[in-house]
């Protein structure tokens, strides 16, 4: 007679016998994380710079993008692409939906981080560069962005952690990611939710925890090195509070 305990050992054995399924799902999660992070960084950089443009129309475009994607749940964005777009004859694979949807969603947060980072650089540096004959573009490339990247690296890393966690939205549209695998494996088999969730939870953790820890260590380092004040860093982190 098998034990009915939710954490009975035979349930774990069953899980380990299907390790290939979980391994594949882990790769899907990593792939979607990588693709959507790349897109989010590109979008975040573009819209972050646009929000500091001297042209009003660019600032408005950036604002609309940020507000739209920060205030609509990621779940709705994913389901819109999965359920509604096919009616307009746009069929996207779940992998594409993951990369695109999560990229667009987190791009909005990264855009705010980039904007806050640029705003934290003293105005005098823009003026000094200008008086030395730097164009707007080369001021950004050579003077402002290198400093900005240093101080936004910790909040950017936190965004990467949130992004990896949010790839679990794919589970809701049968995306074949880790969370999907855990849920469907347990639901269709022996109802072994505990082992499935413990093992997948551990897999998410081993990716996210080192990133989160590195972000904290680096933040401490740049504050101690006097590259940024704790208050400025807090203000930059605060723009991503709602994620």
């Amino acid at each position: 007679m098998k034990s009915m305990s939710p954490i009975a050992w035979w349930r774990f054995e069953l899980l380990f016998s299907d390790w290939r399924l979980f391994g594949k799902a882990f790769l899907v999660t990593l792939a979607v994380s990588g693709l959507s992070l790349a897109l989010a960084l590109i979008l975040g950089m573009i819209f972050g710079l646009l929000s500091r443009s001297k042209y009003r129309v660019f600032r408005i475009i950036a604002r609309v993008y940020v507000e739209l994607f920060q205030n609509i749940p990621l779940v709705i964005i994913a389901f819109f692409m999965f359920n509604a777009l096919p009616y307009a004859n746009i069929m996207l694979s779940t992998m594409t939906i993951g990369a695109l949807g999560i990229g667009l969603y987190h791009g909005a947060y990264i855009s705010e981080v980039v904007r806050a980072g640029i705003e934290s650089i003293p105005q005098g540096q823009f003026e000094a560069a200008n008086s030395q004959g730097f164009s707007y573009f080369s001021t950004m490339i050579h003077i402002i962005l290198p400093q900005t990247i240093t101080i936004i690296l910790p909040p950017l890393t936190n965004q990467a952690v949130n992004l990896i966690k949010n790839t679990s939205v794919l589970a809701m549209i049968s995306g074949g990611d880790l969370m999907y695998r855990a849920n469907s494996w347990a639901a269709s088999g022996s109802s072994s939710y505990a082992p499935a969730l413990i093992v997948t939870g551990a897999l998410y953790f081993i990716v996210c925890y080192p990133l989160a820890t590195a972000a904290r260590a680096y933040e401490k380092h740049i504050i101690n090195a006097g590259l940024v004040t704790a208050a400025t860093e807090d203000a930059i982190v605060a723009v991503t509070d709602s994620e």
Partner: protein, 243 residues
């Protein structure tokens, strides 16, 4: 030529946006949507309030008890901050014994609360750390007990500083409740999807129906969250002026 025009005129009325709107917003459906919105809001507020309480307990434990309980609180926060919300929702719904918590909505909400508490705990801790340590020592030297110092000196100032961040957490939580649709909990998005399934029994679902519903759902979330985030921004400006 004439035939085609005629065919267009007699085509099913559901081809027009007006008809799609009428099909979607029947009296019954509208009521269904509204109850869903109410459920989402109620759930979010209750979850955030309980999470503030639990998150504060975690933060205080982590900051002032460096032995076993403090360690446990740290481990709790690290685990929840580095694993996806959906994992905790699925876990709570399927693993909490039914005779302990009967309602699936309460079980799902409990999972959301456990996760949100870890986020709020970090916000509270950040607020507490920004208060000068001298205040704590001064209060103790004036004969305040530890609990009194916490309740009368440290926590009031902490909450004054973090109220904008806590308000942002309501936005986050409203967005997060949409993950509950995955486990069949009747919040707003689940109800909206059910309207779609229900409608397919009476009318032929066209792209217009689907887009009307998705735009409506996105708009509802957007209006609620955007208004809240405007309030947050206003408060943040006021807090930073006072400091």
């Amino acid at each position: 030529m004439r035939m085609i025009e005629l065919a267009a005129l007699t085509a099913p009325a559901s081809e027009s946006v007006g008809q799609a709107l009428r099909d979607v917003f029947t009296a019954g459906n509208t009521k269904f949507f509204l109850t869903g919105i109410l459920t989402t809001l109620e759930l979010s507020i209750v979850v955030v309030l309980i999470s503030i309480l639990f998150g504060t307990i975690l933060a205080v434990t982590r900051n002032y008890e460096k032995k076993i309980f403090g360690k446990v609180a740290s481990v709790y926060v690290e685990i929840f901050r580095n694993t996806p919300l959906l994992l905790w929702i699925v876990g709570s719904v399927f693993l909490i014994p039914r005779n302990l918590i009967g309602s699936p909505m309460v079980r799902g909400g409990f999972g959301l609360m456990l996760y949100t508490s870890s986020v709020i705990s970090e916000i509270v801790r950040g607020g507490m750390n920004s208060i000068h340590n001298g205040q704590f020592e001064a209060a103790r030297s004036q004969g305040f007990t530890f609990v009194q110092t916490l309740l009368y000196i440290v926590l009031p100032q902490t909450f004054e500083r973090i109220i904008p961040s806590l308000m942002s957490q309501i936005v986050t939580t409203i967005k997060d409740t949409s993950f509950l649709a995955q486990v069949g909990i009747a919040e707003f998005f689940w109800k909206a999807r059910n309207v779609m399934t229900g409608m397919s029994k009476n009318v032929i679902i066209t792209s217009k129906h689907v887009f009307v519903i998705y735009i409506f759902v996105a708009l509802v979330y957007f209006v609620i969250n955007f208004s809240l985030s405007c309030v947050v921004r206003m408060m943040r400006r006021r807090v930073s002026v006072r400091q």
